[in-house]
Amino acid sequence: MTDPQSLQERFVPPTAFAVPGRIEVSNRSAAVWQRATVVEIRRETPLVSTFRLKVPDWQGHLPGQHLMLRLTAEDGYVAQRHYSIASAPDGSGEIELTLDHVPDGEVSGHLHTVAHVGDTVEVRGPLSGFFAWPGDRPALLLGAGSGVVPLMSMVRHQRLAGLDVPVRLVVSARTPADLIYADEYGDEATVVLTRSEGRLNAAHLAPFLGAEGQPEGGWEAYICGSNGFAEHASQLLVAGGQPVDRIRIERFG
C-alpha cells in the first residue's frame, strides 16, 4: 500500500536529470501581449539581422530567456514564433532579437524583407526560466548558428555587470561570413568554422573538461542550436565527463 506521508512532499523521481529551474518566472509578464516598436535593424551577416525593439512595459529578463513574437495580417491571420533575447538585461526598456533569415520562413522572412524601423510587432515574455543564467555559476556555452543568440546575452551580461564568474563560449559557424557577432568575441570565445575545419569535436572541448579544465564547482553547460547540433554537442560533453544534470539545452526545433 501507499504511504500517504510520502505524498505530502514534492515527488522527485529517482533519476539523473532533475535540473532545477533557475528563477521564479513572472506569470504576469508571460501572459500579456505587448506592442513593441522596431527602433533599429542591424545586419549581422548576409542572412542574419538584429532587431532592436522598444517594449514600453518590459519587466526585464535574464540572459538565456526567450519570448514569443506575433505578427497579425489585415484579415486577422496571426503567426507566432519563439525568439531568444540577444541583449543583456540593461534596464533600457529595449531588447534585441537576432534572427536567421529562414528560406521561405513566414515570420523571419517578413522581418528580414518587409519590416522597417517604426513598425510594430507584438511580444509576450520573457518566457521559461530553465535556460536562464543569472550569472551565479561558471558557464560553459556551446552554440551553433543562431544558437549563439541566448549565449551572447549571457556573455554580454557578464561583461556589463562586471561578473568574475568564469564564462567560456564555443561558437560554431560554417564560414567566417556566417559568424554572428564576430567583432564582439574576446578571450572567452573559441570559434569553430565547420566548412574549413570540420564540426565541433572532443578536442575543442578538452581544454574545458577533466580536472584541469573545470573551474571550482564545475561548469553549468548551456547548449543552443539546431537539434542536430544539440544532440552532437551534448553527447560530446557527456563523453568528456560533464554530468547530464548540469547540461541545459535549448533546441530551435
Partner: protein, 205 residues
C-alpha cells in the same frame, strides 16, 4: 481579443483557408517533426526500460518491456500540437492504452491527478481525467518503425489532446495523487493543463 495588424504582413496561409485541424496560433509543420527537449537524449535500451504505476492505487505495479508488449495493442492516429507553435497531422503511434495499465493498478477513489515522470527525471502533471478513457497511451512505435530516441524512444507517454510537453518522453511511470503538483515545465512558467484549443500555453493564460 483584437490585434492591430502588422504593417505589410500577409502571412503564408490565409485565415480563410486555414486547416480546421489547426488549433489557434499553430502552424502545420508538414513532414518535419521538430525535437524540443531540454535534456541530453538518454541512450536507454529497451531491455532496461520499465514502466511503473504507483501512488494512490490499490496495486502498484512495474512492467518490463516484454510485459508491456504482452498487453493488448492499441494505437493513436491523429494530430499532435507543440506549444512552440507547430502541429503535425495524421501521425500514428503504436503501443498500449494507458487505461490498460491503470486497470491493473486500480486507482483509489481519492486519486485526482498524476505526475508522469521519465527515466531521465523529467516530470509533468496531468489531471487523472486527462489520461483515462482512451485519451492517453504508452507508445513504442512511430509510423511503421520503432520510436526514435530523440522523440522519446524506446517508449513515451502520449496525451495528444494536450500540448506535447505533457507527453513525457522516455516515460518511466505515473504517480497518482490527490493534488496537482507542477512538473518540470509547469514550474518554469508553462500552463498547468495545456489545452491547445484553449491556447493554454503559459501560466496565466
Amino acid at each position: 481579443m483584437t490585434f492591430e495588424p502588422t504593417r505589410g504582413f500577409t502571412g503564408r496561409a490565409r485565415a480563410a483557408d486555414r486547416d480546421p485541424r489547426l488549433p489557434p496560433g499553430q502552424y502545420d509543420a508538414g513532414d518535419g517533426w521538430p525535437v524540443l527537449s531540454a535534456e541530453v537524449t538518454p541512450r536507454l535500451a529497451a531491455a532496461d526500460w520499465t514502466f511503473r504505476v504507483d501512488g494512490l492505487v490499490v496495486a502498484p505495479h512495474t512492467w518490463s518491456w516484454d510485459e508491456a508488449h504482452a498487453l493488448p495493442a492499441s494505437e493513436y492516429r491523429g494530430d499532435i500540437h507543440c506549444v512552440t507553435s507547430w502541429s503535425k497531422f495524421g501521425v500514428r503511434f503504436g503501443g498500449v492504452s494507458l487505461d490498460t495499465f491503470l486497470a491493473a493498478a486500480r486507482p483509489l477513489p481519492t486519486a485526482t491527478h498524476v505526475v508522469a515522470y521519465s527515466h531521465t527525471g523529467y516530470t509533468t502533471n496531468l489531471p487523472l481525467s486527462d489520461v483515462t478513457d482512451g485519451k492517453a497511451w504508452i507508445v513504442w512505435e512511430y509510423g511503421d518503425g520503432p520510436l526514435p530516441a530523440e522523440h522519446g524512444g524506446p517508449a513515451r507517454l502520449i496525451v495528444p489532446h494536450l500540448y506535447f510537453w505533457k507527453s513525457a518522453k522516455w516515460v518511466a511511470g505515473l504517480r497518482l495523487s490527490d493534488r496537482d503538483e507542477p512538473g518540470f515545465w509547469e514550474q518554469n512558467g508553462y500552463h498547468h493543463r495545456g489545452d491547445p484549443w484553449a491556447e493554454e500555453r503559459y501560466a496565466g493564460d
